[in-house]
Symmetry: D2
Subunit: 136 residues, 4 copies
Amino acid sequence: MQTRTPIKVRGYHIDLYGHVNNARYLEFLEEARWHFLEQQVEIDYLMKSGLGMAVVNININFRRGAFMGEELEVLTEMVKVGNKSALIQQKIVLKGTDTLIADADVTFVVTDQKAQKSVVFEGKLLELMQQWLKKD
Amino acid sequence: MQTRTPIKVRGYHIDLYGHVNNARYLEFLEEARWHFLEQQVEIDYLMKSGLGMAVVNININFRRGAFMGEELEVLTEMVKVGNKSALIQQKIVLKGTDTLIADADVTFVVTDQKAQKSVVFEGKLLELMQQWLKKD
Amino acid sequence: MQTRTPIKVRGYHIDLYGHVNNARYLEFLEEARWHFLEQQVEIDYLMKSGLGMAVVNININFRRGAFMGEELEVLTEMVKVGNKSALIQQKIVLKGTDTLIADADVTFVVTDQKAQKSVVFEGKLLELMQQWLKKD
Amino acid sequence: MQTRTPIKVRGYHIDLYGHVNNARYLEFLEEARWHFLEQQVEIDYLMKSGLGMAVVNININFRRGAFMGEELEVLTEMVKVGNKSALIQQKIVLKGTDTLIADADVTFVVTDQKAQKSVVFEGKLLELMQQWLKKD
């Protein structure tokens, strides 16, 4: 399932160059991932199991500056589930268009918060991850 | 004791108006308060006692924009200890000058982290607070 | 006219203490002021006249921590227009309740961007400011 | 030439998970790139020529959480100069150790600010870029 998260560019997002600062995009992406997670079934299961999601890699392309007052949309979807990690793809576009501002591959693992170790996707957790995968 | 914390203005501090964004000053002030605390005696006592400092009011004047590449200094000193709250004064100046960028009164209380309640300054804690007060 | 701007607390808003960091509130307030301005008539006039708004003082009370996942609302209204400055009052509450998270008095001036000087509220500009004032 | 930029982890850097937020690392990296640039010869030439640097890709690995009070160091060096883009490698380590917190490949282009187009590295600009390349 792909989610769409709206964000409007404000004065405090802008940096020296007159467009949204690089680091802000990572906040926009995080905003959109929380939004994505809220839409998923049984996200509570994960939280209550003492498990947490930890991002291990972000590969982000900055395609075009985003400017004051522009309305953006962050498209978020899960595209791959591996043995111990999964991949979320996110695109930031001008709302209602295909104009790409930035796109990112975000790889995460699920960690046992107490043991501070990442866990293998199996059983209930694997099932959950597969439900999050996009359907075409 | 007054501390001086250096900060250099970088591209990501700047906003739409070409100078440091309002919200960033609060990060600069927090940076300087942590620096101030590190210089104080027995700060460990406070931390180990399950006590924490909570800011309850910030009154900040923005005097002059700060621009890309400028070197700032945050001057921090404690100026008053009351019954349940204390006052820290902070000034942001152009380094090595009296040119004022911003100045703020920051009022804080000390809270019992478990009880989530502010405590009265007495005994050891009061002593500590008084040591933090500026000496002229 | 009072505006209401929704904000949901996300992981990146949270700091060491487990609640929203002080500096973030200033971003929330700025977000809400842009939202407020968008709702005002003739905001374009101001922008096209080479005028800008500059915040000169923020006096903010932190009343209660805001926690992960909480839905907030920033209430914004203009309450006073002086000779050269005006006052906006902002409250951050738990959405749909009176529970106060923070409240702030924000004083701003209008500056001639070229001359880098604040201007007196008169003529068209004064008219505009008075339209922004809250109606009871 | 490799530069080393010190950063101390403060309360406002920390997020919900108790360690430095992903987006903050991008600010740390930017901080370190400005520091790197300051150390380079003839950086003024670039600025005065109406040229600017624009980051087009960041590929960052998050290796280990960074916690309150930890002293970090960002190591920055230029490692490759292509025809129209160049690559900076940055590592965030625990100060004075090899313990890796995060590492990133940062690809940038040089843009003609007026034309809003990236330029080919040739002549004086190519010379400059080659001077920035690390020497072993």
